[in-house]
Symmetry: C2
Subunit: 313 residues, 2 copies
DNA sequence: GACGCTTACGTTCGTCGTAACTATT
DNA sequence: AATAGTTACGACGAACGTAAGCGTC
């Protein structure tokens, strides 16, 4: 048994049981991968993959267990590399953040400005994607942390921690009557054509829930993937917009009017996601604390390792 | 980086930083081990061990982290082997139990009799030792489960689960006056020379505590490592004995009288110890449930993996 | 017929063991 | 002087890549 074999089965499983593709991804030859997988299966005395003739079509029951373990081992090897990098040069390295548009555009800039000042030798990488993609980047090791708002809590091997609570505001052209509503109500909003986020994104479900709870059906004329698109169309007076409060900047957005709507919707929570049992560089903890000061290194470490409490039944 | 290197550093650390000894234990040459360790250190860019000239004298700070990770990886590899064995032949294999005299002699026999009947193809191994040794056998993989009563809860990588509560009785020669005490008291016991367990063992601390709590200082004339020795000397009327209740058998021990003493001492708890995150064969779960019916497979699995709950702060 | 996995074979690279050397106690 | 670790070197073996063969879609 060796590490290559574990990498091979892991990659083959990840790539939908396509050996050739996995071989390419690992920069090696397809026969080599096939052979090593067989050797491993022979050594363990089990079949990991189900074959139809010469094709792999499924993962066996023991194979799934083996793949789970292999995944953990490979994760730990990543950790080893991290440990090496950390101690050989504490303040230099790479920080890869996978996140959604809203976070990258509005929440992260001040945090990252401070971070870059503090750690000038850390190369920052920002990868944008939808919440699902963001999680998977963390799980396969291409990103260190994920930051997103919803559907981030569904993965077994992802530890998620709440960072910030936020709510929404309504924006409209400066003279729009909605801006003079005192107090602002859902009924008032529903009187106008609405522009807001796409279903899969950024707390859209909270918006749906609020209207549904009052039995109102708003006229949604446009759904967008990001705040800037919403602002653009609101500026064209296509409708009024429901937006993350943090996305409105009185200076940059002086062509638009804003009225807070926090009392109308359930607040949403932005979460940070980390690979379970990951070993993180010191500056990663610093970044997390910069983004969410309540998340101290100690707390994050405890969460990463699943608490580790003794089970005294 | 490869698995051998991890095995090497792990073994060197385990053997008190003696490379030659580690090489012997791994059936390889000492220069090979030295070289691989250096290669690994080179690759990670850190020193794992502190050298004084040519001798290794300590583990560096990053080295400790690396060793921890290596230990986990090697544990997972053990798990892989187990998975292979389990699925290639479900009901055959090895069950290695590390335990103390009292458990092996009095608590385990009926459980193991049933187990052997149910799993005739599992080779049973019983390793006797003191509680410390017992734990270490589990941690280094030479035993699957540890069963002991105290000081078993001190290891980070050992998951312990309470199995059985038990208490003590007093034994004496058949016509000894202590047997007619109604009710039995600590003061009555302290009137006679006492024979009981050695300090390091089987709930001796509960006995000490009881007497100390009443300000009594009993005359202990002999301390033994196991129940059989105690019974032997009680039979010779050297004194009265305080014994685990389960060690007295009215038939086999008809040459001795017994009176229960559960109301005088705090009860002790026998615990089972397992390597954290171990992957256990099906029959191991069956054995555990046979020994402690409340410990179902599900519960043991949850405890093994540290609970795995999401940390929602 | 195109794609995908296996078998076969020769080359290369890495690992291991022996032996000689050096340092520590 | 004895014990412990390093350096040097040669031999073996495992893994890899290429090329050809066989199945499946």
């Amino acid at each position: 048994m060796n590490l290559q074999q574990l990498r091979y089965i892991h990659e083959v499983a990840r790539r939908g049981l396509n050996v050739s593709e996995a071989a390419d991804a690992l920069f090696t030859s397809q026969p080599g991968v096939s052979k090593q997988i067989k050797l491993l299966e022979g050594e363990l005395g089990i079949e990991i993959f189900v074959r139809h003739g010469k094709r792999m079509v499924a993962v066996t029951e023991p194979g799934q267990v083996v793949l789970d373990i292999a995944g953990r081992v490979l994760g730990e090897l990543d950790n080893l590399q991290q440990v090496g990098a950390e101690f050989s040069s504490e303040d230099a390295g790479r920080l890869s953040i996978a996140t959604t548009h809203t976070q990258a555009r509005y929440a992260l800039p001040p945090v990252l400005r401070d971070f870059m000042r503090r750690y000038p030798h850390v190369r920052l990488e920002l990868h944008q994607g939808n919440p699902r993609q963001v999680c998977e980047m963390v799980l396969d090791g291409s990103a260190d942390v994920a930051i997103a708002t919803e559907s981030i809590a569904e993965y077994e091997d992802l530890v998620t921690l709440p960072c910030r609570q936020w709510n929404r505001c309504v924006i409209a052209t400066p003279k729009h009557p909605i801006l003079r509503e005192q107090p602002l109500t859902l009924d008032a909003i529903a009187r106008y054509p609405l522009i807001t986020y796409d279903d899969a994104f950024t707390g859209r479900s909270q918006i749906n829930k609020a209207f549904l709870g009052r039995g109102i059906k708003p006229k949604i004329v446009l759904t967008a993937l990001d705040s800037d698109v919403i602002k653009t169309y609101v500026g064209m007076d296509l409708g009024i917009g429901i937006l993350t409060r943090m996305a409105y900047d009185p200076v940059a957005d002086r062509g638009l009017g804003m009225i807070d709507a926090a009392h109308l919707f359930e607040s949403s929570t932005t979460r940070i996601g980390l690979r379970r049992r990951a070993w993180l560089r010191g500056y990663v903890y610093a970044f997390i604390e910069g983004f969410a000061p309540q998340l101290t290194r100690k707390m994050v470490e405890i969460a990463l390792n699943g608490g580790g409490e003794d089970y005294q039944l």
